[in-house]
């Protein structure tokens, strides 16, 4: 591709400064963003053509420093050293300029070509601050441009700036450090290190740079020893002082002071982080979320239901009676339509989760629950993967990569399937609507809480059986409150909705047809499906499940949405809307069994995709096997317990 010019541009910046938002604006991609650190774990790539030239963008995970040895930071550092991009787009949060620029100075010292995008200026201005972009650019000797992760108005200008700065010579920045540090840098330079390598070696306390020979290692160690005998401060601090000294000099000329937090934000923090109210508010918000997911979702669900039965009737009236007609009406339309009606609920749930994430509440919830998490060998950081699990367990388990301590990571992975993913929601909505119509939202809330409870119990047990390597420190920055941007909320929800629709068109469609086929053949005598169901049903008899529920649960091994589709296809008599299905199910199952069925669905083994992910992320089938076994045992016991208790109660 030598005739076709292509340039690589890497986005670098602190966590939560808006890199992914900007990346999405630049490339038209729809990567997940969120108002907290740790949402992007691996680097993402995207393309944009501009003035006939192909730009290849890379969104690196957010980092605070190039001299720390954490997973995200090593990804970024190795990337810059091994495959230096043609240009770096350093995204800087204008609200916390000094700290963001500290990373910039590290990149500049390395002599890499950089363009700086000053993000979140809107927020800064709202709080009465300002930055003189020209002055800042002059000070840093790099182009500085205002950017906004939430709108694309400035993207052409930014693209032109990037284009202009390709292949420009780039001088490394020279900051003067404290005399003893300078001495050490000189001694390292004398044995062949470049200045930035010497600084990074010192800053990281003897890591982050590979020393190639014995002489370098000897001199390096001597420098570290000498400095630590002369100073109480860590080297990281001494070097940071140099960096911040330089930065404050810059900002003195180019930026004005601003208020720390607006009164409204302060009040929100006082309320949500309140020692006594914080937890109750958190639980209440979750309850509201599930209640609204159920109640608000039921209106559009009715419309979809009406639409589906209308189509069913039209097809029924139009086609002559035949096996094909039955397949289409009783298998395809009933099965697919039966899951489609839950689309509004799924969309609403994702909407609320995105709202919590984008506003900054999630990070606060991580703070509120940290103590509880630490009791079960977990970590405030495990909060992000757990909450993502409410959406889908697959990306959630992958995001556990940010957790470095192996035990905490393994526990986070293994308990994730108990965080009820959105694929299980249709079953709950369907059954709760039938058996507990008046308290459906509360039942939903209860199920999710039960999942969390089981997850924590299992985590506590695992923490006692697996040995821990070291304690990971929990240091988290609380992001500012942000009004969620309509665009990113819409994109997020639309993405989730289209995922759901794609699944309906794929696995659910095939599953419904399969179930219908097994149900309709052989034409004489008992159908294969019923034979299979009756064969396995004794296992489930203690919970009062019939062969129909048994079959539905079996089909859910493939994907959890199929459970609802199976129930619809199996139970459909001659009715063609939800009301008929509800009546049929309500007549066949006792309320206690309905509850047990929901609990079983909540707890029993992860779906195929999740199992594959567990296997990949833990590197062994053993843990995937543990996860399956654990799920089955817990689901059976849990469902049986619930059934037994509920029969006494209801």
């Amino acid at each position: 591709m030598s005739d076709n010019q292509s340039y690589t541009i890497a986005l670098i910046g602190n966590p939560n400064c808006g890199k992914t938002s900007l990346f999405n604006q630049l490339t038209g991609a729809r990567q997940r963003t969120g108002n907290m650190a740790g949402v992007t774990v691996t680097s993402r790539e995207g393309h944009k053509e501009w003035r006939g030239i192909d730009f290849h963008f890379i969104d690196l995970p957010g980092i605070y420093s190039l001299a720390n040895s954490r997973v995200e930071e090593m990804v970024a550092r190795d990337y810059l050293i091994n495959t230096p991009p043609d240009l770096i787009l350093n995204v800087v949060d204008a609200n916390n300029l000094a700290r963001n620029l500290a990373l910039t100075t590290q990149v500049l010292e390395q002599g890499l070509p950089v363009v700086i995008a000053l993000n979140m200026l809107d927020e800064l201005e709202k709080q009465g601050g300002s930055v003189d972009l020209i002055e800042l650019g002059l000070g840093l000797a790099k182009p500085v441009m205002a950017s906004d992760g939430r709108s694309n108005g400035h993207i052409p200008e930014l693209m032109d700036l990037l284009l202009d700065n390709i292949d420009q010579p780039s001088e490394p920045l020279a900051i003067t450090y404290e005399p003893h540090v300078e001495e050490a840098i000189c001694s390292l330079e004398a044995v062949g290190l470049s200045r930035w390598q010497a600084i990074r070696w010192l800053e990281s306390g003897g890591e982050s740079v590979e020393l190639v020979n014995d002489e370098q290692r000897k001199v390096g160690q001597q420098a570290l020893d000498l400095l630590s005998s002369r100073h109480d401060e860590s080297l990281a601090e001494m070097i940071a002082e140099g960096r911040y000294g330089y930065i404050h000099g810059l900002l003195h000329k180019s930026s004005s002071e601003h208020k720390d937090q607006s009164p409204a934000d302060h009040w929100l923090d006082r309320l949500t982080l309140n020692r006594w109210l914080g937890m109750p508010i958190f639980v209440f918000l979750l309850w509201v979320m599930f209640e609204a997911t159920f109640t608000l979702g039921s209106y559009p669900a009715d419309w979809i239901d009406a639409g589906v039965s209308w189509i069913g009737q039209q097809v029924g009236a139009f086609m002559p009676p035949s096996l094909l007609k039955n397949l289409i009406v009783e298998g395809l339309i009933a099965g697919v339509g039966g899951v489609l009606v839950f689309l509004p609920n799924v969309v609403l749930l994702f909407f609320f989760i995105a709202l919590l994430e984008q506003s900054g509440y999630m990070a606060r919830a991580a703070f509120l629950t940290d103590n509880l998490m630490s009791k079960v060998g977990l970590h405030g950081k495990a909060f992000v993967p757990l909450v993502m699990g409410f959406g889908c367990n697959v990306p959630a388990i992958m995001s556990a990569r940010t957790i470095e301590e192996p035990r905490a990571r393994l526990i986070t992975i293994l308990i994730n399937p108990f965080m009820s993913c959105s694929a299980r929601l249709p079953v709950y909505v369907l059954l709760a609507g039938i058996f507990f119509a008046d308290h459906a939202g509360t039942v939903l809330f209860g199920l999710y809480m039960l999942g969390i409870l089981v997850a924590f119990t299992i985590a506590a047990l695992l923490a006692r059986t697996i040995t821990s390597h070291h304690d990971e420190t929990f240091i988290m920055e609380l992001p500012p409150w942000r009004l969620p941007s309509g665009r990113s909320m819409l994109l997020h929800v639309w993405d989730k909705a289209s995922d759901f629709l794609r699944k309906i068109g794929g696995v659910i469609l095939v599953g419904s047809i399969l179930i219908w086929l097994l149900q309709s053949f052989p034409m004489e005598g008992m159908s294969w499906l019923e034979q299979l169901g009756r064969f396995v049903a004794p296992l489930f008899a203690p919970m009062g499940f019939g062969w129909q529920e048994t079959v539905a649960l079996l089909s859910g091994f493939i994907a959890k949405e199929v459970i609802a589709a199976s129930l619809v296809v199996v139970y459909q008599t001659d009715m063609n809307d939800m009301a008929g299905l509800q009546a049929a199910l309500g007549a066949a199952l006792a309320p206690a069994s309905g509850l047990a069925l929901m609990v079983f669905t909540l707890l029993y083994m992860p779906c195929l995709a999740t199992i594959a992910t567990i296997r990949r992320e833990t590197g062994s089938w053993r843990w995937a096997g543990v996860s399956i076994l654990m799920g089955l045992v817990l689901a059976w016991t849990g469902a049986w317990l619930v059934y037994t208790l509920a029969t006494l109660w209801l």
């Binding site: 401060e233 990281a236 940071a240 937890m279 405030g380 420190t473």
Partner: protein, 75 residues
């Protein structure tokens, strides 16, 4: 005194940061530097962790880590 002894509504300045090397590096990278003003911004139900307003940021620390930060009360 250390950061964990700081009471709500008290103002202090960071004097020294001690503890294991990895922790010191982490705090420095987050912009927790000596000389900065600190106060308690929030306390969780059981008193650990707490959120501290450090400079312009709000940072959540567990007692274990906060105990390594030596501060000086400001009147």
């Amino acid at each position: 005194m250390t950061l964990i002894e700081l009471k709500s509504r008290q103002q202090a300045r960071i004097k020294t940061i001690a503890g294991p090397e990895a922790l010191r590096q982490r705090l420095v990278a987050l912009g927790v530097l000596k000389g900065l003003k600190v106060s308690v911004a929030a306390t969780s139900l059981l008193g650990n962790p707490r959120v501290y307003a450090i400079g312009k940021q709000q940072i959540c620390l567990r007692s274990k880590e906060a105990s390594h930060i030596e501060v000086e009360l400001q009147l």
